[in-house]
């Protein structure tokens, strides 16, 4: 959780005396309980389910469970291709989520359209909603999604819990 701006002595004091700033406490609290929205679009969603299941267990990193209500979710994992018809639905779900909220574009299709470079699909979900982490793979292995998720946690640490 070290940021570049802090001197090393500050980190040492913090480690020994358990002091911290409110900002970093907030970042820690937020990164430690990122609950994803229960929202799957295509084959990547199968891998997302595997990531949440016992073998890979996303709950180890604080994503205790997938919330069916976007109002209780912090993270939207766009897992699959986004058709032109699905675009407004995703935007709607994203708008319903409370701040701060993060988005992972899981897999090729969500990130940039992938192999489907055609009129039916949105060429990247970032044309509709802001994306924090892009995970490559078709579909990504559960480990690859976990890696992307850890990248997101790092980014939350760096940004002080702000989106």
């Amino acid at each position: 959780m070290t940021t570049a701006a802090r001197p090393p002595e500050a980190a040492e004091v913090e480690r020994r005396l358990l002091t911290t700033t409110v900002e970093r406490m907030k970042a820690w609290a937020r990164r430690s309980s990122i609950w994803p929205a229960q929202f799957g679009l295509a084959c990547c969603a199968i891998e997302m389910m595997a990531t949440a299941a016992a073998r890979f267990d996303l709950a180890r990193f604080g994503s205790e469970l997938f919330r069916a209500s976007p109002r209780q979710a912090d993270l939207l994992i766009v897992s699959g291709r986004v058709s032109q018809k699905m675009g407004p639905v995703i935007r709607h779900i994203y708008d319903q989520m409370l701040e701060p909220k993060w988005v992972i574009a899981m897999g090729d299709c969500a990130s940039c359209g992938g192999v489907f470079n055609n009129y039916a699909l949105v060429q990247g979900v970032d044309k509709i909603i802001p994306v924090d982490v892009y995970v490559a793979g078709c579909p990504p292995r559960p480990e690859a999604l976990l890696h992307g998720f850890l990248q997101l946690l790092e980014q939350i640490d760096r940004s002080g819990g702000r989106r």
């Binding site: 016992a54 073998r55 890979f56 267990d57 180890r60 090729d108 990130s111 940039c112 359209g113 992938g114 192999v115 470079n117 990247g124 970032d126 924090d132 982490v133 892009y134 995970v135 490559a136 793979g137 078709c138 990504p140 292995r141 559960p142 480990e143 690859a144 976990l146 890696h147 992307g148 850890l150 990248q151 980014q155």
Partner: protein, 157 residues
Amino acid sequence: MAAVFRQTVAMLRGLLITGRYLFRRRVTAPYPDVKPPVAARFKGRHWLTLYADGLERCVGCELCVIVCPSQAIYVKAAENTPERQVSKGERHAEEFQINMLRCIFCGFCEEACPTGAIVLGHDYELAGYTRASMIYTKGMLTEPYPGASGRDPGREV
């Protein structure tokens, strides 16, 4: 009294099931600490391989560009000159880019490559904060030393 006893027994029986799982083998893979080995023929990120003498295998023929089903590869070929011999053929790839977000890791490029220059490695941890950062350029794709990708640098193709 009997009801309390019954309820206690029921609770203990429930806890017994929980307790039994304590001694079972753990199913969760400790992923970020221990990276599980992938299958031998797993297709992950690409490498541009080198010959044992350090010359590039890629001859800039662009067959991978043609065969790629998701148009993820961009190759700009240039002529080899006697002063600057980059590969063993007449041409070499001056620029070689693969968009990891387009690539579906099908391995067609590896099959199409006449010199065995492009191979798909075992690295699957591909995530980035921007789309631009996921376009891998030639410097990132070329293996750091002959054989770094795990393929024998002395093989024919």
